[in-house]
């Protein structure tokens, strides 16, 4: 089978996907939290 010769490509693709999705999840959650807490503090300050 052709895939037996290119196993590392599948491994790299899986790791890139995993690292990318996890980094995107962390960044999205962090930014959403910072934005929401900033808005709350602004509303409190008004």
């Amino acid at each position: 089978m052709r895939e037996t010769l290119m196993q590392w490509e599948f491994v790299y693709a899986a790791y890139a996907l995993g690292a990318g999705c996890t980094a995107a999840l962390i960044a999205h959650s962090w930014l959403a939290m910072r934005r929401a807490e900033k808005r709350r503090d602004q509303v409190r300050g008004k």
Partner: protein, 258 residues
């Protein structure tokens, strides 16, 4: 449990716990993945593709743990009306869906060289796909409840979403036992609850240790993401409540005697 129902007390804990979990998660998961990628041995049968294990299994585990968490939080919300339970359930939905999708994608990337196919409709893969669709359904229901104002004053998930979260938990044992109940292409579980009681894993230590380290690291990241999302939902709910109070005060002032 109700000690932690107070949002102020929760925030006090979450403010220091979020960065601790995030830094610990990255510090453990990063080296664990490098360990799995570069230093763990290749499998005699599957070759190098076995390295996908160190991502695939933690992703599957967290996809299932995410829904188990939603079910427990939904039960707590329905029975004890715990104000933070609905928020916790909502906060677990997106990371749970991401890890379920990641499990399916990495499984597909593993399946192509190992089985010769990207996808097969067997019990494990199909029940995992059902879990991903359950997550989509839960996210849609919780968002609809929030937009309709049925999510509670504190940003909870709403009663319909909570019942859905509870009923959907029936899929978790189906996923776990699918490889035992039905003969499938997917291998039997390598990590079982019996291991907690001292039973030996069928997996060799050279594979098991980087897998455990990766699972621990990703679990910490999952916890940090859930805390971040809980803080975001709580802050949004607090801002909305304050804006509503101000609007009411303004309209009461306008309607009052001059």
């Amino acid at each position: 449990m109700h000690r932690f129902a107070n949002p102020a007390r929760f925030l006090k804990i979450a403010r220091w716990l979020t960065p601790v979990l995030l830094i610990a998660g990255i510090a453990i998961a990063g080296p664990a993945l490098v360990w799995g990628l570069l230093y763990a041995p290749a499998d005699w049968l599957q070759g190098e593709t076995v390295r996908i294990l160190y991502l695939h299994v933690p992703a599957a585990w967290l996809g299932m743990m995410g829904w188990s968490g939603i079910a427990v939080a939904s039960f707590t919300e329905i029975v004890w009306r715990h104000p933070l339970a609905g928020i916790a359930a909502r906060a677990m939905a997106v990371p749970g869906a991401v890890f379920s999708a990641l499990c399916l994608a990495t499984g597909s990337l593993w399946g192509r060289p190992a089985w010769g196919t990207w996808w097969v409709w067997d019990g494990r893969l199909t029940s995992m796909l059902v879990l991903l669709f359950l997550y989509f359904g839960y996210i849609a229901l919780a968002r609809a409840a929030e937009e309709a104002g049925g999510g509670g004053a504190n940003g909870g998930s709403g009663r319909v979403a909570a019942v859905f979260g509870l009923v959907g938990a029936v899929n978790i044992p189906i996923i776990h036992y699918s490889v035992i109940w039905w003969h499938t292409l997917h291998q039997p579980p390598s990590l079982t609850p019996a291991m907690l009681a001292g039973a030996k894993s069928p997996m060799a230590p050279a594979f098991l240790w980087p897998l455990m380290a990766s699972a621990l690291g990703f679990s910490c990241i999952f916890g940090a993401v859930v805390l971040m999302r809980m803080r975001a939902i709580l802050a949004d709910a607090q801002a909305e409540a304050r804006l509503r109070r101000k609007a009411l005060n303004v309209s009461a002032g306008q309607d009052g005697p001059e």
